[in-house]
């Protein structure tokens, strides 16, 4: 029962991270904080994936010598979410790196990290290509 609650708690935490992340991405003006908020969304989804593979009282999904196959099949955690989340973390890190690099360039250009100043200043375009 306690373990089941652990899984529920993980799911709630994942949900909270996603909601906080979306709030930060929409309402916070500072670009770095906005990017941190976007990372929250990413990590919330990762936590959600991990919690899916959780099995109450389960064992790691590696078949060791001497293990009964039927017992292993019934008690091992589901390995697919763990494999997926590793890839997702790598993608998240790459995206984060690109966003931070762009923020650095834009900070040097505008002397500010305010999203409303940097992202909304765009001119009429068409000229000065």
């Amino acid at each position: 029962m306690i373990l089941l609650d652990t899984q529920l708690l993980t799911l709630f935490t994942a949900g909270a991270l996603i909601v906080i992340g979306i709030f930060a991405a929409i309402y916070i003006d500072n670009i770095i904080k906005k990017i941190v908020g976007l990372s929250f969304i990413e990590e919330g989804v990762n936590l959600f994936i991990i919690s899916l593979g959780y099995k109450s009282g389960g064992v790691i999904p590696i078949l060791l010598p001497g293990m009964n196959i039927k017992w292993f099949a019934n008690n091992s955690a589901y390995p697919l979410p763990q494999a997926l989340v590793l890839t997702s973390i790598v993608i998240g890190a790459s995206t984060l790196a690109v966003m931070l690099a762009l923020s650095m360039v834009l900070y040097k250009k505008h002397g500010s990290l305010s999203a409303s100043k940097i992202l909304n200043h765009e001119s009429d375009m068409g000229d000065e290509l």
Binding site: I18, I22, A25, I31, K34, I35, L38, I41, E42, G44, V45, F48, I49, L52, Y78, L80, P81, L84, T87, S88, I91, S94, T95, V98, M99, L102, S103, V105, L106, K109, I118, L119, H121, E122, S123, D124, M125, G126, D127, E128, L129
Partner: protein, 496 residues
């Protein structure tokens, strides 16, 4: 198993890495890019249809293993796809071949009009080719998500590589939206994983077809659909992402814009086919598709009409035209879906023609503001005529390809009892015609402003050749649409 299927993804990936490695060695990267660019469409044509199971791990049902216990053969495990599967279907062949043509012609124009080729730019073009080809080939939702994210990073890279004003700001905006769209798509995929225990589309669609109408699961399936649908809107640039997508197109160099729009179109097609296979039986599927498609078409053409920058105008028209593909799936049935996909293919070719063709105006004058342009027909009449014909093809004027596909969608709408949709399609086509003709007049026909200065005197012959080839393709597809509609229809028949 067909070994050459993964090569369609692996070859551009390796080429991209080598192009980056040899950045700075102009001759080597020019030769390498040309050879690989030419080789990709040939590889696509010579590869035969089939399936490829990565690692050779095919479903147990196909493995011919003797004496399996009934405990396994009676369970869903028996048909489960244990590894990533690539399916090379007629639809994949048609679209990857067309992508190969677009990429080759874009590279050809780029290499011939720039003295020094950029290794990183060519790296991104080939990475883009690999990622969207994988999107179409993959039968695995998570694999699609991975390539969706790679495609988003590549699109950002192509914007950064351009010399347009405010390109970094646009790149960051796009990345921020990508960081919302990507995880939401992943969340939808994860929910399907939780329901079905697999991320393989075939496995999921089999499991979901039994669950959609059960009261316990229908809400969760609907929630997963809404999340994946949101990710699809972002990937393809349909509303509310049409503004950022058109901004992205207009910020890249013409060769980059043509690749970017092809990426969006193939992402749209890959995800809409996956959604159709998984959620096609949902009651709301068709209604939602029709609604978003019509919204996209109306917003696209009305926003294009307001632009004074012709690159943004083409970008908005291009994003609006994507709605026709969704409309085909919304109307439903083999004929309508084939018509929608045919229109998607035509749009990819025509938009490439317009981006590269009108890119010559920027090449000559360094401006894309229609208020500052005029009288350019005297500069190169042949190019102006080809651009005009390209615009007519986009608007759906006979005998070009756009006419055939739009006519097919109108027929499909009338045959299935949606005359109002047929009327909307015709009105949108007329509006597209007027928007394009107005822009054409401003750029080529009105008197040349006195303060208009030229930074170059002539257009490279390679660009003229590229635009001519694209125009010939438009004409061939208009006269012989069955060249592509037959294979597309064959694939759709297998899905229905």
């Amino acid at each position: 198993m067909n070994i050459s299927i993964p090569l369609i993804v692996i070859i551009p990936l390796i080429a991209a890495l080598f192009l980056n490695l040899f950045a700075g060695k102009n001759k080597i990267i020019k030769v390498l890019a040309f050879i690989v660019g030419l080789g990709l469409p040939i590889l696509t044509l010579t590869t035969s249809y089939g399936l490829h199971y990565f690692g050779g791990h095919q479903p147990l049902a196909l493995s011919n293993i003797a004496n399996l216990s009934t405990y396994i053969t009676n369970s869903s495990l028996y048909n489960l796809h244990p590894a990533i599967t690539y399916a090379y279907t007629p639809i994949a062949k048609v679209f990857i071949f067309a992508l190969g043509i677009v990429v080759f012609l874009s590279i050809f124009s780029y290499l011939n009009s720039e003295n020094k080729a950029s290794g990183p730019f060519l790296f991104m073009v080939f990475m883009a080719t690999a990622s969207v080809s994988a999107l179409l080939l993959s039968d695995d939702l998570f694999n699609m998500y991975v390539f969706f994210e790679i495609a988003a990073l590549i699109q950002t890279g192509i914007i950064i590589a351009s010399s347009a004003k405010d390109n970094y700001e646009t790149a960051l905006k796009y990345m921020i939206l990508s960081s919302i769209g990507g995880p939401i798509l992943l969340l939808g995929i994860t929910i399907l994983l939780a329901i079905c225990g697999s991320v393989n589309i075939t496995d999921i669609s089999l499991a979901i077809s039994n669950l959609v109408h059960t009261p316990e699961a229908s809400g969760v399936v609907l929630f997963a659909f809404s999340l994946i649908f949101f990710g699809w809107l972002y990937a393809s640039g349909l509303p509310p992402f049409n503004v950022i997508k058109s901004l992205v197109y207009s910020k890249a160099e013409p060769y980059g814009s043509s690749v970017l729009q092809a990426m969006s179109l193939i992402s749209l097609i890959a995800f809409i086919i996956a959604m159709f296979r998984i959620f096609g039986t949902l009651d709301i599927f068709k209604g939602v598709m029709i609604f978003i498609s019509i919204a996209s078409m109306i917003l696209g053409v009305s926003m294009a009409a307001m632009q004074t920058d012709f690159r943004r105008m083409i970008a908005y028209l291009s994003v609006g035209e994507l709605g026709f593909v969704g409309l085909g799936f919304g109307i439903g049935g083999n004929f309508a879906i084939t018509a929608g996909l045919f229109q998607g293919l035509n749009e990819m070719i025509v938009t490439t023609l317009l981006f590269i063709g009108l890119g010559t105006v920027v090449y000559l004058t360094n401006t894309s503001d229609t208020r500052k342009l005029g009288g350019l027909i005297g500069k190169n009449t042949f190019m102006a005529i080809m651009i005009l014909l390209g615009g007519l093809a986009m608007a759906g004027v006979p005998p070009f390809n756009g006419f055939r596909s739009k006519l097919m969608i109108v027929e499909a709408a009338l045959n299935t009892g949606f005359p109002e949709i047929a009327v909307i399609i015709i009105l949108i086509s007329i509006a597209t015609f007027f928007v394009f003709v107005k822009a054409f007049h401003s750029i080529f026909l009105k008197p040349q402003p006195r303060d208009l200065t030229f930074i170059r005197d002539s257009i490279p012959k390679s660009i003229l050749f590229t635009v001519l080839v694209l125009l010939i393709i438009c004409l061939i597809l208009g006269l012989y649409p069955e060249l592509v509609t037959n294979p597309i229809s064959q694939s759709i028949g297998g899905l229905l």
